[in-house]
Amino acid sequence: MILNVLLKRLFLKNKLSVSKIPPTIIAILKPLSEPFEERNKQKNESHKISLNEDILLSENIFALPLEEDQNVSVSHVDSLTPDKRYLWILDDDGFKVILESTPCDSPRKCACHTNITQAKKAYHGGELWFHDRHSISLNFSSGRYNTRTEVQDNAVKSYFEIIGFSVILLD
């Protein structure tokens, strides 16, 4: 909570554009990393992304905050179903989002986080559901761009709030 207030104050003080991540938040985030980079380091493995999971599904990707003409599927807080689940990633451009059920010519047949990044570097990723255009529930479920600590989770949440969302963090 305190962190959140401080970040908001700093953000306003610096009058940063909402499309740029405040340096105070970047300082908390895990450094930009390749998909599965940290996992592979920790486990001494070379887990790779699957076929076509690096295809950029650009037509279906959109940025946050939402543009006026950007439609989204909304879910009730008590009914977070897979068909309305979005994937989010945070990179230097800010948040990018795609509906997970977007068709993709990969073995899993639907979008994954690297279909947003083209398998390039990002800070973090996860899943989210829109409750309306300014309210979301989110988690940090991404094996490709994971978070390590609660502090990082809270920093991401703060940035969502800074760009105008009311956020419910999911367990």
Binding site: E38, R39, Q42, K43, E45, H47, K48, I49, S50, L51, P107, R108, C112, E127, F140, S141, S142, G143, N146, T147, R148, T149, E150, Q152, D153
Partner: protein, 268 residues
């Protein structure tokens, strides 16, 4: 009679395609000869498509005919053990099933999760009916297991490989075979396919996990499984125990395990 060669894998399978006269079903039959217990396993896969409803009598004849066709195709001195095991693709579309199977009211669970405490084979009825084959005698026909011919893309390769898929408690959907390839790596998957004559069954899953060095972390109750022991998980769930992928199989399916890698966490 056309015989697609791609499913003929070594000496394990004899495969043929049979037209059953009088109806529009064309069946692909896979014969598996298991020398270890001298069983003969037959896989019958009716092609999907529209065909006319037939009278029970004619259906019985056609089942018998199929068995006859099979018998005539076998070498004279084949190690006939005294019984034939018919392995049938069971889709509960009635018209696709021969009457002997339908009347036995067998429904192999297609979507529901199998009870992990019991072996798959215990849940499938053994003898369904006896079939008389001229000059060969009467044989017990069993619905023991299902082998479904399919093709899959290895996770990181363009190549499609033919696979005979057998549903098991660990891997229930053929659509999920690629997840095994993701978990153990495409190259290892390819090597194992060769070793297992392209059959992806329960043993394949176990063997692939035995050879894998993959591991995860779980809580004391084995209800939370995480990919890496991140500080936030330890804070939330307490001490996390390292668990090998083979041991993970005692609690989770292949689908669940792939989820750990893709989403970092799986909760039972």
């Amino acid at each position: 009679m056309s015989v697609p060669k791609k499913y003929i894998v070594g000496k394990t399978f004899i495969e043929g395609s049979y037209d059953i006269p009088g109806n529009r079903i064309k069946s692909t039959v896979f014969v598996k000869i298991d020398n270890s217990d001298a069983d003969l396993q037959t896989i019958v896969k009716p092609r999907t498509g529209s065909f006319k409803k037939r009278s029970p009598k004619s259906r019985t004849n056609k089942t018998g005919f199929l068995m006859q066709q099979l018998a005539t195709r076998l070498p004279y001195n084949s190690p006939f053990p005294g019984e034939i095991i018919v392995i049938h693709q069971v889709k509960m579309k009635e018209l696709e099933l021969p009457p002997s199977f339908r009347s036995s009211k067998v429904a192999f669970p297609q979507t529901s999760r199998l009870n992990k405490t019991s072996k798959t084979k215990d849940r499938i009825p053994e003898t369904l009916s006896a079939v008389e084959i001229p000059n060969k005698g009467t044989f017990n026909v069993k619905l023991k297991d299902i082998y479904l011919p399919t093709e899959i893309n290895l996770s990181s390769m363009e190549v499609k490989v033919p696979v005979l898929f057998q549903q098991s408690q660990y891997l229930q959907q053929q659509d999920s075979i690629w997840k095994l390839s993701v978990i153990i790596g495409a190259e290892n998957f390819k090597k194992l396919l060769k070793k297992f004559d392209n059959v992806v069954d329960e043993n394949f899953v176990i063997e692939s996990f035995k050879e894998s060095k993959e591991f995860f972390y779980t809580n004391k109750d084995y209800t939370i499984f995480v990919d890496t022991p991140q500080p936030k998980f330890i804070k939330k769930y307490g001490e996390l125990i390292k668990i090998s992928i083979l041991d993970t199989l005692s609690y989770l399916t292949v689908d669940d395990i792939e989820c750990i890698i893709e989403k970092t966490i799986f909760k039972k």
